[in-house]
């Protein structure tokens, strides 16, 4: 945003400084927005007027607001009062798409829908041989780019040093780890990732709490509800046993993204 433009904009009510923080500019403007949008919506629903043209006004008293610059037709009957709530209007603010002659039904988004269960878990009796997991530590001598969350490099911890005084408020440590065999080139400031795990005592408590068997071995498949969220061929990679912990992480990430995506489309 150009400062000059901002200075003359009705959004900005201060001209003494060339810098505008969000708090200065947006907050006062926002205060008037919600009542204004509300007033506009009421007007629209009362008069069945399809649109109202108007410039951005920060005054709450002015009913013509940004939402009206885009033609929005709301033919909401009084039987759907939710559409007149402030939350219903916000979706149409800014890049509102014209939705002519379409009844807009916006439900009260007070409680989100139950996220779907996308995974079916099959428990296997002890001793049953499962297909060998494809997870392994990356072989030594391979290119560093081959290392990933699924195929980490096992790096020995070689040393540690406390950089802060013993009685300092916070503890800062410097650790030294070995990369011999990783065949990796890096520059100072490059990043690497450490895969950590949850504390075993908490893990055991949670497992027992949920009534699960700590030593159980299981495999995952897409549940019936999940439809085609996860393809079966992909899923076969995620055969999961005590040795194949890491695949779960990426798998969970994928399904979680999917569920988020679908949740997003609900509204």
């Amino acid at each position: 945003m150009m400062p000059q433009g901002m200075a003359t904009s009705p959004l900005c009510n201060t001209t003494k400084t060339p810098f505008f923080s969000l708090e200065e500019v947006v907050e006062p403007w926002k205060k008037g927005l919600v009542p204004a949008v509300k007033a506009l919506l009421e007007k629209l629903t009362n008069h069945h007027a399809p649109e109202g043209e108007g410039e951005l006004k920060k005054q709450a008293a002015e009913p013509a607001v940004a939402a009206a610059t885009t033609p929005v037709s709301i033919t909401t009957p009084s039987t759907t009062p939710a559409a007149t709530t402030p939350s219903a209007t916000a979706g149409g603010d800014g890049g509102a798409k014209p939705a002519p002659k379409k009844k807009i039904v916006i439900k009260r988004q007070e409680t989100p829908d139950l996220p779907p269960c996308t995974l079916a878990v099959t428990f296997h009796p002890k001793g049953e041989t499962l297909p060998q997991s494809t997870t392994k530590e990356a072989d030594r001598g391979e290119d560093a780019s081959l290392f990933s969350q699924d195929r980490p490099f096992l790096s020995p911890l070689l040393g540690a040093r406390r950089l802060t005084a013993l009685d300092a408020d916070k503890t800062t440590l410097e650790l030294e780890i070995g990369t011999e065999g990783a065949n990796v080139a890096w520059l100072p400031g490059d990043a690497f990732a450490i895969i950590c795990h949850n504390p075993p005592d908490v893990v055991d408590k949670v497992i027992v709490h949920l009534g699960l068997e700590p030593e159980a071995v299981f495999t995952l498949s897409p549940s019936i509800e999940s439809g085609n969220v996860v393809s079966l061929s992909k899923l076969s990679r995620y055969q999961y046993s005590a040795q194949t912990s890491l695949f779960l992480t990426s798998f969970a990430a994928r399904t979680y993204q999917n569920s988020l995506h679908r949740e997003g489309s609900v509204s």
Partner: protein
Amino acid sequence: MREAFLNGIDLFSPPKKAILRLLAEYASKPEEKEALINLCSAKGERKGVEISMLFPHPNIAGSKLYMDEIVEEHTGLAELLLDRFPSSKPPFGHLLSVAAPLQPRYFSMANSPLAHPNIIRFAFSVVRYTTAKGKHREGLCTTWLEQLSQHFLNSSSPTTPVHLKIFFRPTRVTHILLHTNLI
């Protein structure tokens, strides 16, 4: 199973509202169910955070209650299950479908490979703090690393050798800067 909870599921980050909704579904005590529904709903927004009216989707806005109890207090899944809402016992498959995966932690190399090509040095502060409501919180990864390096710090005799699982992510910005002679 143990591996799934050790490495797969994030038990300590503030969970998304979807997880709270899941816990609510399987809470057997009515009061816990109600509290969880309240936490994950947009309900609290009306009295609380005004900006939420502009972004009404509960997953974007976050109600005041959710912000205060979960985000600000950094309340994790483990605490919710074990201490706060013990009556909620979601089935494993559903929990796994919704729960966030445990993320790897990124650190920056603090030394040059020109001096020691096979050694990475990195520095970090051990995360320990107290929340507004007096809960003591510790960083999962940094406290674990501190624990692992105890014998180096105390100059005591090393126990068994410790290995960290790592992988690399080049920060391309530094490479670009070097190649264009900007630094």
